[in-house]
């Protein structure tokens, strides 16, 4: 194992231990923030799977998030017999179905056209969510009680306490993020990156570009839907806020600020966004403008996002790790 690999492994272990003991070290309010970061991190990772690795920048990713969110809320409220994990799985699968339909149309297009069509679908979902009052209760939304978690052979765990919910979220988000990481290491993951770089050449080589992109779109929908479900359970409430333009903007901001070129960039972006928002909104009401300025500065001057600063050659050398480049 190379020194660099060992160093990365060390970081992962340190981060895992820190996350495991977090609720014992910080106050309840910070645990709330941590849960929010985790949920957004999963959402942003699903976004980056399309934007960073697939080269498809969706401006309406909230559509898939919302399917998971509303499905979870409706199952928990109307079908109390369904176990929580099953509810989340069903919600994520419904989100995959939505992704298959939306993706089927979107991935034929490129660049701004792709962005706009995904945006149009999101607005369509938004219009449905705000007008179909019998089911969604429109912009007023509906409350959702967090059901208990039943684990076969281990008994039930109440998720009312935020600490319990934190561990529940941590396990699910870590599973999702790890699955996404491993997915990118598969031949399909390599094909995706290949189609991002040269889609015409990839199809000459015999790869089915359309199918590869559709599968990835669905995978992204799975993670986004799961994140939407967790978001609703965290907020104990769902309304059209999960499917409006701001939600699509938020995930885009997180990914770009964090850095879409690196697997953990969106996670860093989610953490930055939540902490920055929490800190700055206690100082001023106009935190959106500051966020906008940070965003513009990152786009213009820090091309790889915040994570590129952390992983830059200078910082690596300073920490005593190789740069990973040939000498």
């Amino acid at each position: 194992m190379s020194r660099r690999r060992l160093f990365q492994l060390g970081w992962v272990i340190v981060a895992a231990i820190a996350l495991l003991f977090l609720p014992m070290l910080v106050g309840e309010l910070s645990v709330h923030l941590a849960v929010e970061i985790l949920v957004y991190a999963l959402f942003a990772v699903s976004f980056n799977l399309l934007a960073g690795y697939g080269g498809m920048m969706p401006f309406g990713h909230a559509a898939l998030f919302a399917v998971g969110a509303y499905a979870t809320a409706l199952i928990c409220n109307n079908l109390p017999g369904v176990p929580l994990l099953l509810a989340l799985v069903i919600a994520a699968l419904l989100s995959v179905a939505a992704a298959a339909i939306v993706g089927f149309f979107c991935i034929r297009l490129k660049g701004a056209y792709f962005a706009l069509l995904s945006f149009a679908f999101q607005m369509f979902f938004f219009a449905v969510a705000s007008k179909w009052r019998d089911v969604t209760n429109g912009p007023d939304g509906m409350g959702v009680a967090r059901p208990d978690l039943y684990l076969p052979g281990l008994g039930t765990l109440s998720l009312v306490s935020i600490t319990h919910f934190y561990y529940f979220t941590l396990v699910l988000v870590a599973t999702g993020v790890l699955a996404c990481y491993l997915f990118l290491k598969t031949p399909l993951g390599n094909t995706l990156i290949c189609t991002r770089e040269q889609d015409v050449r990839a199809s000459f080589l015999g790869y089915n570009v359309f199918l590869a992109r559709l599968v990835v779109f669905c995978a992204s929908g799975l993670l986004a839907g799961g994140a939407g479900g967790l978001f609703v359970l965290f907020q104990k409430y769902v309304n059209t806020g999960v499917v409006d333009m701001n939600m699509s903007m938020t995930v885009l901001l997180m990914t770009v600020i964090g850095g879409g070129g690196h697997f953990l960039g969106p996670v860093l972006g989610a953490a930055f966004y939540v902490v920055f928002q929490n800190w700055i909104s206690s100082l001023t009401d106009h935190w959106w403008i500051l966020l906008g300025v940070v965003f513009v500065v990152v786009v213009l001057y820090v091309e790889g996002g915040l994570i590129s600063i952390v992983t830059s050659d200078r910082v690596r050398r300073w920490m005593g790790v190789g740069t990973g480049k040939a000498k």
Partner: protein, 290 residues
């Protein structure tokens, strides 16, 4: 529904008024996209800022007519500054960076409006000259709406003359087709870009001014207009002014009759129409290149 034909005609005029406003905002957006390939998310904010400036001018200077000159002047300069100092940096970075930059500008401009004018709903009073009503198809109709129609058709005429009959119009149309070639022929294309972005911003602001007495001013104005503009440039075809005109009238009538027949679902139809056009004919009804 058994309604007299006049009722339908009134609805059609409503739709025409709204469609023309949308066209004025979307025209700048579509030309900028055609020339530079920049989908300017911040464009509808120019419209909103134009409307809010009209409010301030009417309140502090006591004269609505002045805002017809002041508002496009300020917003046009803003557009020029944005092109020169921000957007120009991104041309070499590719379309992704451009989308993201204008997206960030959308946040900043919308928040600036909140800081300057506050979050409350404002309204602008129409000048006394235009506040009456006339008989139209047998029922009273606000004069102001007809004024909107008049001004927007005038602007359409000016724009058409500018684009079709002047030298700068030829350069703009050529740059929409092939900006690199125009540059190679010795035109300072970046400067033309700057002028077009400024001009588009000014027209959007002018649309905001003439719309302001007809609307209530609130912070969602920009985003609402943005949705309509996106629908218009997608349906009409990216970069096509004629397409934008036809599509804007379609959107206007769709909204007007949609609200009339099936209130609440008009928005659904608009995005459905947009999605269908993108799926069947991604270049739009009048677009040529994809």
């Amino acid at each position: 529904m058994n309604l007299p034909i006049e009722a339908y005609l009134i609805q059609a005029v409503h739709g025409l008024v709204y469609g023309m406003l949308v066209f004025l905002v979307a025209s700048g957006l579509t030309i900028v996209f055609g020339m530079m390939g920049v989908l300017n998310f911040a464009h509808a904010s120019f419209y909103m800022i134009g409307a809010f400036i009209a409010y301030s001018v009417t309140v502090y200077l006591g004269n609505f007519w002045l805002s017809l000159a002041i508002s496009p002047g300020i917003v046009g300069s803003l557009g020029i500054v944005i092109e020169r100092f921000l957007l120009r940096k991104t041309y070499r970075m590719g379309q992704g960076a451009q989308l993201l930059l204008t997206f960030g500008l959308l946040f900043i401009l919308n928040e600036l409006v909140r800081i300057i004018w506050g979050g409350s709903v404002l309204s602008v009073e129409a000048p006394a000259l235009l506040s009456g009503e006339v008989q139209l198809f047998g029922s009273p109709y606000p004069v102001y709406r007809l004024f909107i129609l008049l001004v927007s058709f005038l602007l359409l005429g000016v724009m058409a003359l500018l684009l079709l009959k002047t030298r700068i119009g030829i350069i703009i149309r050529a740059a929409v087709t092939d900006a690199k070639m125009v540059e190679a022929l010795g035109t300072n294309v970046p400067r033309v870009f700057m002028a077009v972005l400024g001009g588009g911003a000014a027209i959007a602001a002018l649309a905001g001014v003439i719309a302001s007495p007809f609307l209530t001013l609130h912070l969602g104005l920009g985003n609402d207009a943005l949705m309509d503009c996106f629908a218009v440039i997608v349906i009409g075809g990216f970069g096509s002014l004629l397409g934008a005109f036809v599509a804007a009238l379609m959107i206007g009538e769709l909204q007007s009759f949609g609200v009339f027949w099936i209130p609440g679902l008009a928005l659904v139809f608009q995005f459905l129409l947009m999605a269908i056009v993108l799926i069947i004919r991604p270049a739009g009804l009048f677009g040529e290149k994809e």
